[in-house]
Symmetry: C2
Subunit: 537 residues, 2 copies
């Protein structure tokens, strides 16, 4: 079976038809909706499409089936939109037209859920983003943080739980009189939402997909028993739990066994028996839409950026280009990436002329002290490496990552792409890079993408500065034939296991559950290639 056949066979349409009866709508629940709204003074609506992977990933669905998308109204604009959507005439009608033009060809109904400011802030800015995100990315320095104190407990009770119940209840309401609601819940903001749906609709078919890492039992173990248990039990209200990788899925199974007293975990069958139900734990590595990306990459915005970069590279004497594209935040490990590059230039001084490291980085959450500290440490290393050289002569070019077209242009020009996160749910840059450019991919083992792509990448360990230096050298020296041979295999993998495949596997597994069968998707593979640039004896 070739890639095209496999995609055709695993297209989302077929299981959708099996899942949805008559005019039934598929329900998506996520913290942030696909569009955010603003109303101008002249009462015109403006809708901005979210740039996140989640929105991109799920917005394909509205073209395949009628979708109701439940999310929180995040600000005044969203709340105004929510009020307008409750009406049929006037502003509501105009707003629906704006939505339709922004998400063309989709039968999409948005349900924006109102949440009080205090509850929202506690949910978003106390529990979900600093606490759960840091914990699951293992960014805490454990002697100091996290601190489970009254502030966190209150934010959990009056914020996180409230928002989860609100969204879960709204999803159940959206189901109306549907025979058996089919609900896709998203990510770490909503660990408790499925339980609220289940309470209202015990018959619902629920799949929660977690976009970020699920760390080992040890990482959770510093938390109160009741907290880690309630998180696991919240997730066990689903029928299927989806994770980015087999390792995260395994970690969840171990967590359920360790923390949920009456759960019976079957590691081989990859399921949990709990309160009379079976919960299936699966991996669905997320991906991108290859055709859309390739089309975008061939467009004028990218071409304009590429031209400017090429001119600058021409002035610099046509050096080889190492590229990284990411947010400047602690989990992405830019610090050690630049330290490895600095070590490479120290070892091979003539590369200072012949190589440039283009880092397309967007700033991220710099109001959080820890992020600001990290960014400043990174910039210090960059300043040290660049010294007093003229801009074009500087070894590291720091470019502003807020323009996606620039990032794609840089990837097109890359000889090597460095993706070395400490831990990362998936990392789509690795997949974008091989579709739009022809680089050697240097990939951290602890990026989720490694489960699919490590076999044709050069892998590094996150803390391994010396090894990353050696691997960057190896990547720069890789013969063209070898590079392209790996590239073909990487492209094939990304094209085969694309966004449609990601979605289709979830729907296929849900359809299996609906029909009383075991969801067919099991372990993906166990393919992290072992490369050892430095030998320890």
């Amino acid at each position: 079976m070739n890639a095209a056949e496999r995609r055709a066979r695993e297209a989302p349409g077929d299981p959708l038809a099996r899942l949805l009866a008559g005019s039934q709508r598929l329900i998506i629940v996520s913290n942030r909706g696909p569009l955010s709204f603003r109303r101008s003074r002249s009462d015109e609506w403006r809708a901005t499409r979210g740039s996140g992977g989640l929105v991109t990933a799920l917005s394909e669905l509205g073209g395949l089936a009628p979708v109701t998308w439940v999310s929180a109204a995040m600000d005044a604009g969203d709340r105004a939109a929510r009020a307008a959507l409750a009406t049929n005439a006037g502003p509501g009608k105009r707003l629906r037209e704006v939505i339709a033009s922004e998400m063309p060809g989709q039968d999409l109904e948005l349900r924006l859920v109102d949440v009080e400011d205090d509850a929202w802030r506690a949910h978003y800015s106390v529990v979900a983003n600093p606490f759960l995100w840091f914990l699951q990315h293992q960014l805490y320095q454990l002697p100091y943080e996290p601190r489970v104190d009254d502030a966190l407990i209150d934010a959990w009770r009056d914020g996180y739980r409230v928002v989860n119940e609100r969204l879960g209840t709204a999803a159940a309401e959206a189901a109306g009189r549907d025979g058996r609601p089919v609900v896709l819940l998203q990510d770490y903001h909503l660990y408790l939402a499925a339980a609220a749906v289940r309470a209202a609709r015990p018959d619902a078919l629920l799949l929660h997909f977690n976009h970020i890492p699920w760390p080992s039992v040890e990482a959770w173990q510093v938390l109160p028993q009741a907290l880690r248990r309630v998180i696991c039990e919240g997730l066990l209200a689903n029928d299927i739990l989806g994770f980015q990788t087999d390792r995260y899925a395994t970690n969840f199974l171990l967590a359920a066994a360790a923390f949920v007293r009456d759960a019976r975990v079957d590691p081989a069958g990859r399921n949990v028996r709990w309160h009379g139900r079976t919960i299936w734990v699966r991996s669905y590595p997320i991906s991108l839409d290859p055709d859309a990306l390739v089309a975008f990459a061939a467009g004028p915005k990218v071409a304009a950026w590429r031209k400017r970069l090429e001119e600058r590279l021409e002035r610099a004497g046509r050096p080889d280009v190492i590229v990284r594209v990411d947010r400047l935040e602690p989990s992405k490990n830019a610090l050690r990436g630049f330290l490895a590059f600095e070590a490479m230039l120290k070892r091979e001084p003539e590369l200072r002329r012949r190589v440039r490291f283009i880092a397309v980085q967007s700033t991220s959450r710099e109001r959080i002290a820890e992020y600001a500290r990290y960014a400043s440490e990174v910039r210090e290393v960059v300043a040290r490496v660049n010294g007093m050289a003229d801009p074009d002569e500087q070894p590291i070019w720091l470019l502003d990552g807020s323009d996606y077209a620039l990032a794609i242009a840089a990837l097109q020009l890359a000889r090597v792409v460095l993706v070395n996160p400490i831990v990362d749910g998936m990392n789509l840059v690795a997949k974008e890079a091989v579709l739009v450019g022809e680089p050697v991919l240097v990939l951290s083992e602890t990026a989720g993408a490694a489960e699919q792509l490590a076999g044709d990448s050069l892998t590094v360990s996150a803390a391994d500065i010396a090894g990353t230096r050696e691997t960057l050298l190896e990547a720069l020296r890789m013969p063209r034939d070898e590079r392209l041979w790996h590239l073909r295999r990487l492209r094939n993998s990304v094209r085969t296991e694309d966004l449609g495949w990601w979605l289709a596997r979830q729907l296929r597994d849900l359809a299996a559950v609906a029909e009383g069968r075991r969801p067919p998707s099991r372990q993906l593979r166990d393919a992290t290639r072992r490369v050892e640039p430095i030998v320890f004896r």
Copy 2:
């Protein structure tokens, strides 16, 4: 079978007789020896006995069998002793007398191994203590550290490996013409030493006991593949690997499966097949010598300290006493302990009069920046809680932990003992506390001691400040009968599974391997009691 019978049956003597032929000596290898030496100007030797748990634990052995103890000469005094021991007359003779008087009733031969200063420093101060210790206690903030760079790699090659080979070779030499050398290797300083013994004596019986935690695969995974593999393979040169807890043993099995390409791991049988040999992975929770401790606690030094403390408590109006005893370092979690106590006083202000928190803390490695920073954060919280009150009125009494007798006296007076490390190989304070005093034990789940003692302790999670506050309150309010009921069970557990038991199980398992049988010690139990002071919904 009661405790006494069980101890008699599991005394070390019997397996020792089965292991050692004729005049054969048991060989111990550790980084630091049982005695450190200094020679005065008048050429008199002074030997100081190490205070560490390792030395205490193993020094019992010399009374049961002839022991040769191989360790590194750590300074000029040790090196002078090493030279003297090479002679029979004069200084060597006098030194042997000093050793005999310091370790009475023991047939103990010390082999001090010379190591160049540079190699020693690299081994001790670059690899073992900052790097492996921090990694295995999960104290790193991963975005910044560890950094595997040339400095670390050089220290590994020219320090850690050199010291390990030196000590391993010395152990093989010490075996001389013995039939089948029996060697007990100790702790994280010596992951590669067994391989050196094995290379010289393929027939040797080798057991490595690891005193500190062995973290999950994820914690190791940021390291270079070659480094984590070489650590695991170094350990697989042994016949038996001993860990403090079942969890650490399980973590090692998972690490071997993940990192050692040709290892076959049998999780149920708790062994690894590798290069034609079987390596057994077992837990031997370390303990103390109950009779010796109780005798010491009844002695005059402790009594003098207790009298002083009682007088001070009398002046303070006979408050209830919470006690902690530990080194002031990040893994012990004093910071959150004091924050929980502060929160308790805020919730129940009248306890400010009726309770004192006596913290007997010894300073530790304050030359390491991270330790100094931690100590200063802890002292800041203590200063805030104590405010401007007179010393006796202060809620927290910080006492200098360099005098062991003071620590024991404090434990004797404790109503509650708080042992809340983030992670701790074992934690002997928990075991000492229940033997010398009558406290409620508040114990972190992630202390190694929790596997044995959690069932009769109140358990807390390390990051759970609110839960620790509630648990301290619960402990203070526990009725006397209930406290003493748990105490009896705790004492029974500590007396049964004492230091002799720890040693006897290792020797029994080694004897089984020598006789071609499966070592009988398997999993201990799965008994972490679930206590949930705060309910999350």
